[in-house]
Symmetry: C2
Subunit: 209 residues, 2 copies
């Protein structure tokens, strides 16, 4: 059950299996976009995918398992091109938004308002790891990582994900370049100041300028 690829371990899965699984995944995406994740039932999926109930439960344990199966496709997308021009913070941003546009349909189903919360959480964790690494890498050599590094990373991830979500839902019309520019303009000055200069002396939350 669940996700076993089969005996060979290779990509040489039975053609029927591939067909059934793919049908279920695509059916779920369509249905999410139509009704929202919560409202989709297993019965809906097998009806739309035109597969038997038995077949479904032979490959997936849950509705959620199908979702995760789809998520891998998306997470492969995220794990691309670190780019990493060395003086540039958050170089993942632009490629991320660009690829999101190419796979907009999928992104919308998974990350959008109609998508499930679990996927969002997983996406956040994924991105958080990337951001954390970049922050550590961008730290001037010799500096100890500030205690508030987690806080900063959380802010950054939150900002990116918020942009991505609102864009996927159509509440935001912007090109990838615009979103990248806005994100970077908001976040980069503060972050690099913290990395190079003092971390966060309370600057007694008074005048911020």
């Amino acid at each position: 059950m669940s996700d076993n690829v089969g005996k060979g371990g290779r990509g040489d899965v039975d053609r029927r299996v591939r067909r059934s699984r793919l049908a279920a995944r695509e059916a779920l995406i369509e249905l999410i976009l139509e009704k929202g994740y919560e409202a989709v039932t297993v019965t809906d999926i097998i009806d739309r995918a035109d597969i038997g109930r038995t077949t479904f439960y032979a490959h997936f344990t849950d509705k959620q398992a199908v979702l995760f199966s789809n998520l891998e496709e998306l997470s492969d997308m995220l794990r691309l091109s670190p780019g990493s021009r060395p003086g540039t913070l958050f170089s993942f941003s632009l490629p991320l938004f660009e690829h999101a546009q190419e796979h907009r349909r999928l992104v919308r189903a998974l990350l959008g308002r109609r998508g499930g919360p679990t996927v969002l959480a997983r996406g956040e964790r994924l991105l958080a790891a990337i951001v954390r690494d970049e922050l550590l890498a961008a730290l001037p050599p010799g500096r100890v990582p500030p205690a508030s590094l987690d806080l900063v990373a959380t802010c950054v991830v939150g900002a990116v994900m918020a942009l991505l979500r609102k864009w996927a839902d159509g509440e935001l019309t912007a090109t990838p370049a615009e979103m990248d520019a806005a994100f970077r303009a908001v976040v980069t000055p503060g972050v690099s100041a913290m990395l190079n200069g003092g971390l966060l002396r309370g600057d007694e939350h008074g005048e911020v300028l």
Copy 2:
């Protein structure tokens, strides 16, 4: 049904009604913290709250209705003290985090990982309105609101909500003051630069525009 307070419109609701509704709300919170929102069933609620099935559906249409009923308590909490010392951006931040700590249990149930996504969306909208107003107010007189104001507001809201969520889930241990400081340190420099200086000319690595 649903949410009518009664004839008087005052707080003079029947004691039995008050009792039943409160019992349902508190039961839901407990159950969310135990099992997560999705897993909670109406049967669970009425069992825990010790009210009849009929009674439940007499007061709430849905599981979600109970959730929203709880949300009002929280949203009242957010709609406090604009503070608004006039040169200070995002003055809502510290009070927000402080009040979140006071009502941590509620915040965790509603906004945390085990909470429902709908509430989160509503909370975001609420916060987005506040942020938008503050951005417009902080704009130097005469300047036209940049086209990317929505993008910026989205980033800011995303950062705050991300902090709040991770903190509620216990994945982040920080005092309200620390969270406020981190949030402000990350976001404020970039935002005020955009408001006062040029909007988003892509400071090097972008050539956006």
